[in-house]
Amino acid sequence: MKKIVSLLALVLLVSCKSEDKKEAEIAPKPLKTYSKENSSVKSYDFSGLENLLKKQNDTTYVVNFWATWCVPCVEELPNFEKLNADYKDKKVKVILVSIDFPKMVESNLLPFIEKHNLKSEVVHLNDPDANSWINKVDKSWSGAIPATVIYKKDKRNFYEKSFTFEELETEVKKVF
């Protein structure tokens, strides 16, 4: 019996340890952090961003690819903001991945975040070889934006479309 307990303890210890290691590994390192007055945005290449698409915890992640110049993206942003606010205590996290050109981050993206007072986490993706990473987001993605991934652990859905708040809520509940 004692043996079993100690074995169990060992297993627990080992699994905890590997869990810690995993957490450390998934802290991505940004290429650059842009800051302006009250807003700041971390810029990643795809290998950095990929960690945000693979989190293995109890949170449902809603990852939206957008840009400040993309009219349908900007139109649907309030719906993502509302989702982020309404589901704050229900383990739903919205991540807005801007693919604005790097030279537009300081001139357009940061002012946009301030003007619209965005509360969801905004990150910037700077990886021009899109052919190398689009399929890694989802094989069905043609590359057009807006595009959204909704996932929790290994349950995952991808959408190349615009969302109303109701549609977004329905899709989030599917993986909830």
């Binding site: 993309c70 009219v71 050109f101 021009p128 070889d129 899109a130 052919n131 689009i134 057009a144 934006i145």
Partner: protein, 205 residues
Amino acid sequence: MKTTIKIFAFVLLAGLASAFTYKTTIASGYKVGDIATDFSLKNIDNKKVSLKDFKDAKGFIVVFTCNHCPYAQAYEDRIVALDKKYKKLGYPVIAINPNNPEKQKEDSFELMKAKAKEKKFTFPYLFDEGQKIYPQYGATKTPHVYILQKTSKGNVVKYIGAIDDNYGDESAVKSKYVENAVDALLKNKEVSVKETKAIGCSIKA
């Protein structure tokens, strides 16, 4: 036990259902090897243009592009360069604006004329009036390229995708997908990279 089976059956069914909806959303438009439709679309000089008008062409570099999209704009000079290089070799550029100006006012026919003048387009810049041609090709964004080879059976799709692998910085391009494909076709060789993906602005229909 019964409930487990029920749950299992439900999950299976749900999985199946989602698999089907998934399929219907992606299976549209041309694949490499398909015969592309010809069209008769209005050019910026108000004349209609069809692929059959190009008697001496060996094929076409059809580019769905537009005025407003920053990705399309980033490629404007490169599209002009493609036409300059390949028109004389038998592969002219045919640009088509698939957007509905009622949804995206910068993509109006009048502004297409202004764009062509400003950027000195050397190729037809056609307006997909009523947004009827782009869905047949399966274009989803701008820019989106289809390379066609003229054969006895019609214009065969040989490549679908991006112009090259770096929209932001032309000097950092490693793979010129379109040039490589046309070069291969001109040598009667198989196109090695037949499909690529790129970020672009969704088409506004």
